[in-house]
Each structure stands twice: as structure tokens, then as C-alpha cells.
Symmetry: C2
Subunit: 149 residues, 2 copies
């Protein structure tokens, strides 16, 4: 049986970026790889940016935001030696996101996300994330998440 | 006859965030108000975040990104005393976006965007943007755009 994505273990449901129950959302699926989180995602044609060939910057920000926050949530459960989604629920919200767009992201390529926690302090988690396609990093993001439950 | 939105004057077409031709996109419509750009936008239920009541953070980043870049484009046309979308085409891409989420954004309220250019230097334009709902600022964004054509 294959490992379940963070998002399919009950911690998030509705979110446009990563909720398993949001049929019109982006449905990011994040998995552990050591202490990092990885995800692979495929765009649809309407996710394009200024040209039909490239992925939209807002979609890129969404992918980085959701993948990074899900890592923060998964890490918090792991630190408590509990299954993701188990009660009591752990939730994070994004306080700040910064995304740098290094080069265009071709919309037809598989999108690869890789995130790691760089700092933890009280209820705050800082996450760094790269978004790659065709073997090249196309965008980088820094996400500050705050635990709210 | 009502004033046309920046996006309906031919400068952008495909973009998921603001392209007039993208039927599955967010279709942000930006207008001049003095030297600032304003936009009003309504979410659909699937644009929610962690809860069905609040707007998704990635969607917020998309709205701020597109509204801010369209201001940079409109400003560049205005500086050349030309109609938006006229030849030769003026285009900007986002180099960096930073969004701070101050409080939840209720999904049923009208979303109001207000952007202003804070600095211009060579091909670069820095834009500050607020996103409000229910009379309160919910998120702020800083966008660095770079002119590419």
C-alpha cells in the first residue's frame, strides 16, 4: 500500500490549494522525504500566466504556500509522535509568504516542490521551498506559518 | 459608456489571474483612481482556504500579483501617453511578491484591491497593494515587476 499524502490524512479538507475535498482546487499532495516534504503537480491549460506556455505566478505562490504549510503541520504532528490529522487537530495559517520568480515555468512540465523547515520558534515555523520544472529551479519561496490550534 | 478595465484593453489575455479570455481564471478587473489602481472582486465557494468561510491565501496572492502588475503596465502606457494595449506592446513580469496576511478574509464579502507604485528604477517597478473586505485591510502585498517588452 502506498504512503498517503499529508493532505489525505485528514489535516486539511477544503483548501483551494491542497484540500482533498476541493474538486476545483489544485490538490497539492505532499509527502515526506527524510525531513523534507516533496510534491509533484501537473498544471491544466487554464493555469497559465501571461502566455499560454508558462505557469501563472499566483498558482506558483499557491503551490509553495500549501506545500510549505503542510510540511509545518506534518512536522508538528511528527514532533508529538502522532498521526497527521489525529485529535487534537493541529492547524497552521500563513502569516507571510515571499516568492522570487527566477525564470519562466513551462506549463507542460511536471512541477516539483521541495520544502524544508529552516527555523522553529514558539508557534512560528519558517519554511523554505523550491519549485522546479524540467530539472531547473524556477521559483523559490519563504513561508512563515503560525500555529493556531 | 463605462471605462474599460486595464485587462479589457488588450494588454493581457490568457493569464489565470486577470486574463479576459481565461474563462476559468479569476478575471481581476483593474481601474484607475487618480494615480492608484482599484479593483473589486467576488470569490466563488471553491476559492476557500482552510475553512469554507475564508478566502484562500494563494488566491489572495494571485489577486495582489495581477492587480499590481496591471498597474505597472498601465502606468508605463500612461507615461508614454499611449492607450493600454497599443503597439508596441508593454509587458511586465513579477520578479518577487511578498504578502502579509493580517487577518482572515471572509469569502462572502466583496474583495477590494488598491495598489500604488512606490518606486520606479530603470525597468523595475515596485508596487504596494492592500486587500480589504468588510471595510478592513486583510492582507498587504509588495510586488516587484520587471518590464520585459
Amino acid at each position: 500500500m502506498s504512503e498517503l499524502a499529508f493532505q489525505d490524512q485528514g489535516a486539511v479538507r477544503h483548501c483551494h490549494g491542497c484540500g482533498s475535498d476541493n474538486e476545483r482546487g489544485l490538490q497539492v499532495k505532499s509527502f515526506w522525504e527524510g525531513d523534507e516534504a516533496i510534491a509533484t503537480w501537473r498544471a491544466q491549460p487554464h493555469h497559465c500566466g501571461g502566455t499560454p506556455e508558462n505557469l501563472n505566478g499566483g498558482i506558483i505562490a499557491s503551490l509553495i504556500d500549501c506545500h510549505s504549510l503542510n510540511l509545518a503541520i506534518a512536522h508538528a504532528y511528527r514532533a508529538e509522535r502522532r498521526a497527521i490529522g489525529s485529535a487534537p487537530r493541529i492547524g497552521y495559517v500563513t502569516a507571510n509568504i515571499s516568492v522570487s520568480y527566477l525564470k519562466p515555468t513551462p506549463i507542460r512540465e511536471a512541477i516539483e516542490l521541495r520544502a524544508r523547515i529552516t527555523k522553529l520558534e514558539g508557534r512560528k515555523a519558517w519554511v523554505s521551498c523550491t519549485l522546479s520544472a524540467g530539472g531547473e529551479v524556477r521559483a523559490t519561496g519563504e513561508v512563515l506559518g503560525v500555529r493556531v490550534e
